[in-house]
């Protein structure tokens, strides 16, 4: 089950449609688990890793994945090979993912972009690696045409995520 937690105010229609897209992509239920305030001590732009660690978890089962959605910006991450523009963050095989819709002015019109980033980060929580197919949502999200893509997993990533979800079922 995917539990969607909003850190800012979103139109319920957008949240509903996003849940539908995620349900279609992963084949597991997705529901809005409520709103949550950003913990004290965090300032915009957020450090994705710190924020994700500081956020409290909603009630969930062991194999549930929690997706936090915010409208505020995330700080670019400093990595060994350079600075990385960040629109979301999730640990490999972790239970939680964070996605920012700061780059999308109208969440209703740009739902596809938000959904693609959400799919990408949730994919990491099911141990998916980056993909070679530019159409796939697991393609590196900082690339030029990522936002123009569809809410789609290529065959390899879809099979792998299905397998991981099946194995993780409690």
């Amino acid at each position: 089950m995917i539990r969607l937690v909003t850190l800012d105010a979103y139109d319920p229609k957008v949240v509903d449609r996003l849940c539908k897209v995620l349900y279609t992509a992963f084949g597991v239920g997705c529901e809005h688990a409520g709103d949550m305030a950003v913990p004290a001590g965090q300032s915009e732009p957020f450090d994705a890793e710190t924020l994700l660690a500081a956020l409290p978890s909603p009630r969930a089962y062991a194999d549930d994945k929690v997706l936090y959605l915010t409208q505020r910006k995330l700080k670019p991450r400093s990595l060994l090979s350079g600075e990385l523009p960040t629109a979301g963050f999730a640990l490999q095989n972790g239970p939680r993912a964070l996605v920012s819709s700061a780059g999308v002015k109208d969440p209703e019109a740009g739902l596809k972009i938000i959904a693609r980033h959400a799919m990408h980060q949730l994919g990491h929580t099911w141990e998916l690696h980056h993909c070679l197919d530019p159409r796939c949502a697991m393609y590196p999200p900082w690339t030029l045409n990522f936002d123009a893509g569809d809410t789609f997993f290529d065959t390899f990533c879809r099979d792998k995520s299905e397998q991981k979800i099946r194995l993780a079922k409690s």
Binding site: E49, R77, L79, L80, S81, G82, L84, P85, F89, A90, L91, Q92, H124, H129, H130, L132, D133, P134, P140, W142, T143, L144, N145, F156, K160
Partner: protein
């Protein structure tokens, strides 16, 4: 003279890399009696899923187990990934062999070579399923070791690698087969080799031995052709193949093969048909066509 590498001494708590398996932690080093012999076994636990493996201490080196890479090794890998060495091998057989070797040797640079080689190849055409799996495995092992070596999260290690392979703001290059082709001299050398093989085909055994790889190669080519999503490109290539081997070269091979092949393969059919000249002549011509 073959240099023997110094023995790897492992202690409990050491982090090691087991080729094709990933990062493991040594949990015990103990002596056990097996078939009357006392052997020292190293027990390792895979960090990813806790799978346990026991290895005789004497075999640790030969298996390819090594300590987790240092920061210097990691930097060497990044400089390789940044380098312009973007050549991919178009020969699927050679490519598969070298990639499997690299994976079983278990070196960090070898893993990076597999990842980069297949990534470059994917810019020419989509990878076949097996290679896509290999790419994912290599990437998984590479990321796990980078993360263990640098003490960072796996997701950061993966993003670091991909920041180099897929730089932000730059479009993915579209490549053509010509970019990867070997210089013309190499092809001619291969043709000469084929002719020499054809001459040697007078012997029955040589004829039989030659037929099998040709079939295997054809299968592999078919697999690759299936994987290619650009039918426009694949079709002319497939058409060109049977037309090519018409000249003199095909004939000696055709003479050599029927003698070896016909009785063995057509054993179920009546004898006079197998001896018939028209049929065997047609078959080897096809086989040599595929081979080219």
């Amino acid at each position: 003279m073959v240099e023997t590498p110094p023995p790897l001494t492992l202690a409990v708590g050491d982090r090691v890399v087991y080729p094709n398996q990933g990062v493991c932690r040594v949990t015990s080093v103990e002596s056990k009696e097996v078939a009357g012999q006392t052997l020292t076994f190293v027990t390792m636990k895979r960090e990813e899923d806790g799978a346990v493996v026991m290895v005789p201490e004497a075999k640790v080196r030969t298996i390819g187990i090594r300590k987790v890479s240092t920061r210097a090794d990691v930097e060497r890998v990044f400089s390789f990934l940044r380098s312009e060495s973007d050549k991919a091998n178009l020969d699927w057989k050679q490519r598969a062999r070298t990639n499997v070797e690299r994976m079983s040797q278990g070196g960090l640079l070898g893993l990076a070579e597999v990842v980069k080689g297949l990534q470059v190849l994917s810019e020419l055409r989509p990878l076949p399923t097996k290679e896509r799996e290999l790419y994912d495995n290599a990437r998984h092992l590479l990321v796990a070791e980078l993360s263990a070596g640098l003490g960072i999260a796996e997701v950061d290690a993966e993003d670091s690698v991909d920041l180099v392979l897929f730089p932000p703001g730059r479009e993915r290059p579209k490549r053509t087969a010509e970019e990867f082709r070997a210089p013309a001299g190499d092809d001619e050398g291969l043709e000469l080799g084929d002719e020499l093989l054809g001459l040697g085909g007078d012997l029955e055994v040589a004829g039989e031995g030659e037929a099998e790889p040709a079939e295997g190669e054809a299968e592999g080519e078919a697999e690759e052709a299936e994987a290619e999503e650009a039918p426009a490109k694949a079709k002319p290539a497939a058409k060109a193949k049977p037309e090519k081997p018409a000249p003199a070269k095909a004939k000696p091979a055709a003479k050599a093969k029927p003698a070896a092949k016909a009785p063995a393969k057509k054993a179920a059919k009546p004898a006079p048909k197998a001896k018939h000249k028209a049929k065997p002549k047609a078959k080897p011509a096809k086989a040599s066509g595929k081979k080219k």
